[in-house]
Symmetry: C3
Subunit: 113 residues, 3 copies
């Protein structure tokens, strides 16, 4: 288990750029050997992880540094989006809120950019 573990809650498309900056800063500041990060996107925030979005390269780069990206299946259904529309590093979880609560219950820190 790494020393630092953090979930980053991405729930507003317009805050996605900031959220990805925050992840990179976190890995640089605390050290990626010491730090495990998971980005949990729900509601409109899931759009930021789409293949059609502007962040494909940055998501790939952060994934190569060990960051996990997940999207909420309920949000996908509500927005009429399909798993294939997302960057390949992205995984689907049953609900974003459930994922956040499970991680925090395991001791992960929560940050909402």
């Amino acid at each position: 288990m790494k020393k630092y573990r953090a979930v980053i809650h991405l729930t507003e498309m317009e805050r996605a750029n900031l959220a990805l900056n925050n992840v990179a800063n976190l890995l640089n500041d605390l050290g990626e050997e010491e730090t495990e990060v998971e980005v949990v996107a729900n509601s409109e925030g899931v759009r930021a992880l789409s293949k059609a979005g502007p962040f494909v390269e940055r998501i790939g780069e952060l994934a190569r540094r060990g960051t996990r990206f997940v999207v909420c299946a309920r949000s996908l259904a509500a927005l009429g989006m399909k798993e294939e529309e997302f960057v390949e590093e992205v995984e689907v979880v049953p609900t974003g809120t459930g994922e956040l609560v499970k991680r925090e219950t395991e001791g992960w820190a929560y940050v909402r950019p």
Copy 2:
């Protein structure tokens, strides 16, 4: 003590619909026998729990599933609102921030929709 405990911070009226969706998703995903949820409303977010608001039925339904709803007394005073204006399931706490910090100190997860 339930396996999962979460405070949902409702501080923006325009995010209330999402917050209530998040609560329902959480109960469905993690199971309501396993999950205790408290919605803590402060600032403009308290308006969402008013009898005059659009969420009366959904609040009642979530309360019947065990969700607790609380509003910040300081926010009520600042907005000139009275306890009687809120849905009957709603309780008043001295401050929303104090309530959140107390719950988190007890180990509850925090989610800010």
Copy 3:
């Protein structure tokens, strides 16, 4: 170690007034002998802690009650701001997100006004 410890995440200038109200409410509600508070500002939120901003007096007052105020060095660089532009009680940390994750890992509660 105090009974309650909380980081307040200030990341939007327009929510700074609310964030400072939340800090004062928290100290009043839980008692300042029992409560340690740190305000972590990043992104546009750092502007609220500037000497040129409208909150100089309130920051000083909360600092005298024991609240720590920190700003993210990466955000300062991105905004072209210098440490001297901030209220004297403000300290610079390498990253706001790193500071939040460190504090939460130490057991501090997180609130995002």
